[in-house]
């Protein structure tokens, strides 16, 4: 398993134009599979337009303590892109005035941003309805400075959404690195201990499952049932919901697909599982994604592909929700990942 990002390894696929070349070429350019645009045109949804903004997702930096094989951010300890306090202040201004009901902090490991706690304290004051932090769990056990995170999250009524690829050690460690499973279990137990994830409690703890390989996630409800049973029986762990998220063919997951000769089969599987109903609720239609340096994107995936919003408002410093909402969403073939089966978003399935 790699210990450095594609960027640090100077791999070709660290370049966004190289990824887009692959996504727009090959089996799509040869006409073997239809472009995503054609699918949208067939159902009268091209160009794809936003609905009301509901989620403001802020990526506070690409630095992470893990180097997961499937990471669409190409995050890792070597990534130095970190949101500054100045950009955070610009974000806070937007958070205080947004119509969005959900604030979603992601990374990297967002907790590794040196201003993370200050930012959470300030953002919590805005009284946004649902304040999510996407935590990889192991960060809570990575270093003493993070041991108090469960209490800190509780104090600010943060909704914790954590990655957990499987309820067995083998599959978890294969995707995310040796020792990740044990640390994640310990972190979940600590979150439970302060009141997170308990039935009927307000301190929300949801898990994110994404497949550890070149296949699509199965039924979210069935997976949630299996996860709940296994984690409770084996470790006494409780959580609220499981979000099944499809891996999108970009960045490290794209690199993996190509290296393991699974790319074509995976794209076939995504196109075959295309569900026009999922298009209605696809997350780019109710989300704005902000990068560490303040640029605006239709989603975190477009952010990683360097595809800024098609609007005259492109940066958080100029933020204007009305103007932003009047835009066409930028699409490519990676979008098939969000419309496969029951659909996929940062909040799990969409239908």
């Amino acid at each position: 398993m790699a210990t450095k990002s594609l960027k640090a390894r100077q791999k070709d696929l660290a370049k966004t134009n190289k990824q887009l070349e692959i996504l727009n070429g090959g089996i799509f350019a040869e006409g073997e599979l239809p472009y995503f645009k054609d699918k949208l045109t067939n159902i009268g949804h091209f160009p794809l337009r936003p609905r009301k903004l509901e989620i403001l997702q802020i990526n506070v930096g690409y630095m992470c303590n893990q180097v997961c094989e499937h990471c669409h951010v190409d995050a890792g300890p070597d990534r130095k892109e970190i949101m500054t306090r100045e950009t955070m202040k610009q974000c806070l201004e937007v958070i205080r005035n947004t119509e969005a009901h959900t604030l979603d902090l992601t990374g990297g490991a967002p907790e590794m941003n040196p201003n993370f706690k200050w930012f959470v304290e300030e953002a919590a004051k805005a009284g946004i309805q649902d304040f999510i932090v996407r935590s990889n769990l192991t960060i809570i056990r990575a270093n003493k400075q993070y041991y108090d995170l469960p209490e800190f999250f509780k104090k600010h009524n943060v909704h914790v959404v954590s990655s957990m690829p499987h309820y067995t050690r083998g599959k978890t460690d294969k995707q995310r690195g040796d020792g990740v499973f044990d640390k994640s279990i310990k972190a979940l137990q600590e979150l439970n201990a302060v009141g997170y994830g308990l039935p009927g409690q307000n301190l929300r703890l949801d898990l994110v499952y994404n497949p550890s390989g070149a296949y699509l996630p199965g039924d979210q409800v069935a997976l949630e049932k299996d996860f709940k049973k296994a984690l409770d029986e084996d470790f006494g762990i409780q959580f609220h919901n499981l979000f099944a998220i499809t891996n999108l063919p970009i960045s490290r997951f794209l690199d993996y697909l190509i290296a393991s000769e699974n790319y074509e089969d995976y794209m076939y599987a995504l196109v075959e599982a295309y569900n026009s109903e999922a298009v209605e609720n696809v997350m780019c239609t109710n989300t704005i994604s902000v990068s560490w340096d303040g640029w605006l994107y239709d989603c975190d995936f477009n952010q990683m592909l360097g595809l800024k919003v098609a609007s005259k408002i492109k940066h958080i410093k100029d933020y204007n929700e009305d103007i932003l909402n009047d835009r066409n969403i930028i699409i490519s073939q990676h979008c098939y990942g969000c419309t496969a089966g029951a659909g996929s978003s940062c909040q799990g399935t969409v239908i």
Binding site: Y167, T168, G170, P211, G213, L216, A222
Partner: protein, 111 residues
């Protein structure tokens, strides 16, 4: 055309069999879909049965399909291998139980 009897890419074309016999093809795929729905047995249990049978009938397409299906359902490799052994045990048992016929015949022919 590939110069081999099996081509992994042919699995994607499975639905095309309907083009040459629409009614029978559709009936088959409707039946197939219905069989694997949740019922008295869970879809997960049926997936493991399908994997075991796939090995017994030695169908490489079915093995690919139900290994992937199992992964999607979160079925572990240990569960998958036990299912394959269950199929293999029945298959070898089916061979070995004929040993009784051999014994019967042997005894009948021997003085």
């Amino acid at each position: 055309m590939a110069n081999t009897y099996y081509d992994a890419a042919d699995l994607r074309k499975f639905a095309k069999i309907t083009e040459w016999s629409e009614e029978l093809g559709n009936k088959f795929f409707d039946y197939y879909g219905k069989v694997f729905e949740e019922g008295a047995l869970s879809a997960r249990e049926k997936s493991l049965i399908a994997l075991a049978v796939a090995h017994v009938v030695k169908c490489p397409y079915c093995i690919d399909a139900y290994t992937k299906d199992g992964l999607q359902r979160g079925i572990t490799k240990e569960e998958m291998m036990e299912a394959v052994h269950a199929g293999a045990a029945i298959e070898s048992g089916a061979t070995l139980v004929h040993g009784v016929q051999m014994m019967n015949k042997y005894n009948k022919l021997s003085m």
